[in-house]
Assembly symmetry: C2
Homo-oligomer: 297 residues x 2
Amino acid sequence: VAAVGEERLIRKIRQWLGAACPPAPEGIGDDCAVLPVASRLITVDPVGFGRHFDATVPPGWVGAKLLKRNLSDIAAMGGAPTSAVVALTLAPAVSVAWLERFYRGLAAAARKYQVSVVGGDVSEGGAAVFAASLTLLGNPAGKRVVTRSGARIGDYLYVTGVLGGSLASGHHYKFTPRLAEGAWFAGRREVMAMMDLSDGLAKDVHALEPKSAAASLFAAALPARKGASTRAALVDGEDYELLVAVDPGADLWRFESAFARRFPAVRLTRIGQMMRRGRPAPGALVLRDVQGYEHLS
Amino acid sequence: VAAVGEERLIRKIRQWLGAACPPAPEGIGDDCAVLPVASRLITVDPVGFGRHFDATVPPGWVGAKLLKRNLSDIAAMGGAPTSAVVALTLAPAVSVAWLERFYRGLAAAARKYQVSVVGGDVSEGGAAVFAASLTLLGNPAGKRVVTRSGARIGDYLYVTGVLGGSLASGHHYKFTPRLAEGAWFAGRREVMAMMDLSDGLAKDVHALEPKSAAASLFAAALPARKGASTRAALVDGEDYELLVAVDPGADLWRFESAFARRFPAVRLTRIGQMMRRGRPAPGALVLRDVQGYEHLS
């Protein structure tokens, strides 16, 4: 991109985004973008060369994943996405052809999930740098958002889909963010808390634990991906599935069968229960023996 | 930061942000932040080590500037800021002490301008990398936003403050974003278009030119900073002043004196006029002889 210059590069980016980027001031081209719909949910997640992908990965997959991992966060609140902005840090040596395929992949995903890419920024980084950070806005799909903090002792824990082996299977590029499922959960009173799984169930589940509670998970119940071990299902990360806490007073049969009717192709599995800390359910996994991965360590 | 680990680092960041970061889900800690006020304006701008600052700059200044350059974009639409998220790319060698001062500077500016820092992301970059990108939301301060696209042939051009020498004088760290002035301009019917000056007047002014028009600027009229040349006022960049186009049918004396009453400490200078392309006003500067700076070139 070194030979192109900022202004031409931004014109090219608008062209690559195509219908995913509305004309200014709704899209790229003014000091701010003016959103047609005011938004109440916001999240931000990056992809970085060397960390989240390397030269063997098709750039279009990287662009799509950048959007989809943020969509997974919107899904986890019971939200629907509206608009995004993208900040790039680029080495001058990044090729225009690579960048075009990155943006075309992002644009295709944006059209699919009805997200407008309304702005961004391009700045120069050192050698071998490509980092992109996407900020995604959304709104509650229904009447409420579901936070991580509503779970109570006794709540049952459910997870969508299957876990583990995301990197080996390519799931971390191919996944479909659970937007429809998240919106459905938010519309169900028995759902007390929700989050998406990105760092591995064993690590992430702690974020749903209220004070004085700890999750008891059962190895035999874990829906592992084909070829993935129980340990992989607990620690691999990048599952982009939803973990929900459900009121134990609810009619679980009714809840499970309503989900199955609405999402016949998606597994929903009861994997454990919130217990009083220090009083795990008999046979529960000891989570301090396993660890989801930790960034920066 | 290598020794700290992501979870502890995020806890520290929340602590450094203090009152600038509300509790989750309004602030950091859930899959998304839930904004108390839905927002319609969005902008994103970065700071990067080696590009926007170096090791001689106090980290608190860098954090404050990251917010203020985005505030300048909100000001340029006639907006008021609401909330921000910050994405960091860090080398493991960045010290916790440096990062603390960066965040405390950001937090102090956020409190001053009533911005909540509601979320963010930290990811690892290569050696010698520190890049931060801030996405800022806002809403129109009054009934309308002012875009870059409303200017017409004949409009007068005005600029706030003084131009040039921003880097040498330290203005690019010390400036106050023109939020009050931008909101005031948006409330005046005679203001047709507005933008903030970041890449230098000579380059930026083209963004206000409607098709078939070109700006005629007058060297003698340019409000250069003390010690800055006319050329510096045209090309230095990082002025963070507002450039506005004003309806030539308006009562300019009334407009100028109303501004002077409301902002007695801020200069407002008529610097030129939009002319038909190829028909510059006599004595106007020939802007193709000067150039604002261009990123990535």
